[in-house]
């Protein structure tokens, strides 16, 4: 049944990467609990535009939890207080009438702020470019069923491959580490015979790139797994460490 709530918003506003940012407060009345969090921000922006002010900038696209474009630190949690979802799937029914909601960008050395709540995550692309692939060209490939793969391995690879590259793991980590992201890709490909061939090279190249780009180290706090909207397990990090050590020992 339709129910409305009134809320107060504390939103981080920052003109550019080098500019000094600050919180601004806004009051929003009559927000339907059936609206999504981003639809609530749409309403805020519509109000701001009608007042002749600049709307709050935030990243978003598919609004169904798969593109990984949306971010936002909501009340101290990447992707907000609900579990296993991205911000775009968060709904206002998770908030109370009269509540003050704090909205911040991802805060991490690896993800500089572009404006307001929008951050630059190209570092993730650079890590994948360093080795997050199987080196095959288009065409000349044997039949898809030529190499049987155990369903257990294929399913596990699929779980790792579910990562949407949103960066919540980095934002959640006190060290700003990208280990969950890197390990998910390394695991997915290491589990499959097609990716196994380059596993050592891949692990080394991706870890080296991650270090170079200023991401921190992993100290096993598991905050990343806790906040990951896609439930990527830290057992991936254990697998990455094994792959990495094996590769280093072979050097």
């Amino acid at each position: 049944m339709e129910k409305n709530i009134n809320i107060n918003l504390k939103v981080w506003r920052q003109k550019g990467p080098k500019a000094k940012g600050a919180f601004e407060t806004y009051k929003l009345d009559g927000i339907s609990v059936d609206s999504s969090f981003l639809e609530m921000l749409d309403i805020l922006n519509e109000n701001l535009i009608n007042e002749g002010k600049e709307p709050v900038v935030f990243d978003h696209d598919c609004r169904e939890g798969i593109c990984g474009m949306c971010s936002l630190y909501v009340n101290g949690h990447p992707h907000g207080p609900d579990e296993d979802i991205t911000t775009c799937q968060l709904h206002m029914r998770k908030f109370k009438d009269g509540e003050t909601i704090t909205v911040e960008p991802w805060r991490s050395a690896g993800f500089p702020v572009i404006r307001d709540l929008m951050v630059d995550r190209t570092a993730f692309d650079k890590i994948i470019q360093a080795g997050g692939y199987v080196s095959v060209n288009t065409g000349g490939i044997p039949d898809a069923n030529a190499i049987p793969i155990s369903k257990i391995d294929a399913d596990e690879a699929m779980d790792s491959a579910s990562c949407i590259g949103c960066g919540a793991c980095v934002a959640a980590c006190k060290n700003g580490s990208a280990m969950l992201f890197v390990s998910a890709k390394v695991s997915q490909l290491a589990l499959l015979p097609q990716g196994r061939i380059e596993a050592a090279r891949r692990a080394k190249a991706m870890v080296a790139k991650m270090d170079e780009l200023g991401f921190g180290n992993c100290t096993n706090t598991a905050a990343c797994e806790q906040e990951c909207p896609k439930n990527i397990s830290i057992s991936n990090i254990a697998r990455l460490n094994r792959e990495f050590l094996k590769a280093k020992l072979a050097d």
């Binding site: 798969i66 692939y133 699929m158």
Partner: protein, 646 residues
């Protein structure tokens, strides 16, 4: 009268593509390095094309509006990808995939194109497996399949309910490898705003850096458009918020024909609309129709009681439920094609049998849970059920889902010949952006197939036939007057938008456009409704250009300006859709003109008069475009009225 040459190769259907490849012109490796190709878009089509062209040795510039190529909207495709591997031994073949696709499209696609699509589909599966795409497998280690609408075989490969994601990440990984090797340069957060033509050939683009707001010039020997469909003309659709038709419309305005704009697909299984603030509609995968049964109450009083909250669907006895798809289409049941399923839902709701707000029907899994067990249903559809529960706040394991049709995909797009080249030499179009191989209706799990077929296995061949005589052409300077002029025009357009300073937000006008489209150019169209649409669309266009308000500055990041530039183009696309729909006095696939239907409510085609692709040629601002017809000759297949009943 302009003549259209679709360049279909000679010979029997199954030899055409081989014949083409055997005789086409190629570019040698040393010359490839000297040739630049711009690819706009990084979805399945764009990323696979950019990666494959880079592997071949071309110098590729690849653009996307998102912060990363991996976020293109192909990522959201859920259900699967078709291929005629016949791994299930259920009678599938290349011919059958070709035939199903052609028939599913209501015989409004080219035979030769569709055959080629079916032919290369098998290689796509091989390619993706080699890239490490974790498709679903059986315990024996081989690939699993499921069924999709419009087919009686199981030919759909899938990766949970995230097939688009996994295929796109596969293409993205291939693309990333080429970026690492230096053959592809990525331009993320860039939006193409115009096409640059020099001496009649596509030679570059004007694009806006979305972070700095700077308008920049890029030159190349050929330009490839893979920017997806224009479903967001309707404001509410299953498309991503940023999906737009602007690149396509810019090409149209520079002379590329826009073909069959009225062919839009309305997907039957989306979560119903719940409020005016709503920003998008969420799709529930067609794969759910494998195991879910669609129904509404048999009696009107039950439907009324359910709508009033006095009765729960689970309380309704079996004999009081109308499984209307199974009733009307016994042979295909719940797996009829999307256009048929959407219209049937609308028919029941219009007749007063809808549930929820009245514009919803049930998709029920209780029988499947009984038959297969909770665990199997969860394994197959768990992520979709979770998505539904987060949005609607109801548990679909316990109570049936509510669904209703929504705009999902556009079959229309830039006209291309057999080589995927548009009517502008050197301009190519791939994936959903072109008018493609789906005719008047696309079958489920065929969009991924077509996007990757174009990008991996068709364009990398056909583009060479064009580029082979460009090897002596030196790289273009972006200081040429054509670039200067195109950039000036864009800057003027932006300045004009910023200067309006009216009273309405971009979104409010976009929503108004969306309402007009849904009400008058939606699931059921008539001559009157389309004429009304044309009139209203002119008014809303005027309103936009005189009363829109864009805060901020143009020469910096400005999200409202980005949206305004897209909505300006949606307004024109909406007009084209209505115009095309009005011209096509027949019903076919997703285009349902209420005047043209069989006695039992099925689409009534008129092959005698409308067996053509309607290609619209731009002739000037505020003038109706010229219609050019590409006749569709059916040499190999006998056309029939589509029958999913027996």
């Amino acid at each position: 009268m302009t003549k259209i040459d679709s360049k279909i190769p000679q010979g029997p259907l199954e030899r055409k593509w081989t014949n083409y490849k055997d005789h086409q012109k190629l570019v040698n490796p040393a010359n490839k390095r000297r040739l630049d190709v711009i690819v706009v878009g990084t979805g399945l089509a764009g990323a696979s094309a950019a990666a494959s062209l880079g592997e071949l040795g071309f110098n590729v510039l690849n653009f996307c509006i998102q912060d990363s190529p991996r976020r293109a909207h192909s990522i959201a495709a859920q259900g699967g990808i078709n291929a005629a591997k016949n791994y299930q031994n259920d009678g599938d073949s290349v011919y059958r995939l070709f035939y199903d696709t052609l028939k599913g499209g209501d015989y409004r696609a080219r035979e030769a194109n569709v055959y080629r699509l079916a032919e290369v589909a098998n290689s796509i599966i091989d390619q993706c497996v080699a890239q490490g795409v974790p498709f679903a497998r059986e315990y024996g280690g081989l690939l699993d399949n499921r069924s999709f609408g419009g087919a009686q075989v199981s030919r759909t490969f899938y990766a949970k309910g995230q097939t688009g994601q996994q295929l796109l990440l596969g293409a993205y990984s291939a693309l990333s490898r080429q970026v690492n090797q230096g053959s592809v340069k990525l331009y993320t957060r860039y939006e193409m705003l115009d096409l640059v033509i020099i001496d009649g050939r596509a030679r570059g683009i004007i694009a806006r850096n979305l972070v700095t707001g700077k308008v920049e010039r890029f030159s190349a020997h050929a330009v490839v458009i893979g920017t997806g469909g224009y479903g967001n003309t309707f404001f509410l659709s299953t498309n991503a918020m940023g999906s737009n038709g602007s690149a396509v419309l810019q090409c149209y305005k520079k002379g590329a024909y826009f073909a069959n704009p009225c062919f839009a697909q309305i997907h039957p299984t989306c979560i119903p609309i719940h409020g005016e603030f709503q920003s998008k509609l969420t799709l529930m995968s067609e794969s759910l129709r494998n195991d879910g049964r669609i129904w509404v109450p048999k009696k009107k009083e039950d439907a009324e009681a359910i709508r009033a909250g006095k009765l729960k669907p689970t309380q309704l006895k079996e004999e009081d439920r109308d499984y209307y798809l199974e009733r009307r289409y016994p042979a295909f049941g719940n797996l009829v094609p999307r256009d048929v399923a959407s219209r049937a839902a609308k028919e029941r709701c219009d007749a007063g049998f809808g549930v929820g707000s009245g514009l919803a029907v049930y998709l029920d899994f209780s029988d499947s849970i009984k038959r297969l067990g909770m665990k199997t249903v969860e394994e197959r559809y768990g992520n979709l059920f979770q998505m539904y529960e987060k949005i609607v706040d109801e548990n679909p394991y316990e109570t049936p889902m509510m669904i209703y049709p929504a705009i999902h995909y556009t079959m229309g797009g830039i006209w291309v010949d057999y080589e995927l080249m548009t009517s502008i030499p050197g301009l190519f179009s791939i994936g959903e952006a072109n008018f493609s191989d789906h005719g008047a209706n696309r079958l489920g799990a065929s969009a991924l197939m077509q996007g990757l077929a174009d990008g991996y296995f068709v364009l990398p061949y056909t583009i060479q036939n064009y580029l082979s005589d460009q090897i002596g052409v030196p790289r273009f300077s972006t200081d040429l007057p054509e670039f200067q002029q195109a950039e000036n025009e864009i800057n003027e357009k932006i300045a004009k938008l910023m200067s309006i300073n009216g009273k309405r937000s971009v979104d409010s006008i976009h929503k108004e456009l969306g309402h007009i489209m849904w009400d008058y150019v939606g699931m059921g169209r008539t001559k009157e409704s389309l004429e009304t649409a044309l009139k209203k669309l002119k008014e809303v266009k005027k309103e936009f250009w005189s009363n829109v308000r864009i805060p901020g500055e143009p020469n910096t990041l400005n999200v409202e300006l980005e949206k305004a530039l897209r909505v300006a183009d949606f307004l024109e696309i909406g007009y084209l859709m209505a115009l095309d729909g009005l011209n096509r006095n027949e019903s076919c696939g997703g285009h349902f003109r209420e005047e043209y239907q069989t006695p039992d409510g099925e689409a009534l085609r008129d092959d005698e008069h409308y067996s053509y692709a309607a290609c619209w040629k731009y002739i000037g601002e505020d003038q109706d475009p010229e219609l050019i017809k590409e006749p569709l000759d059916y040499e190999f297949v006998q056309r029939q009225q589509r029958n999913y009943k027996a």
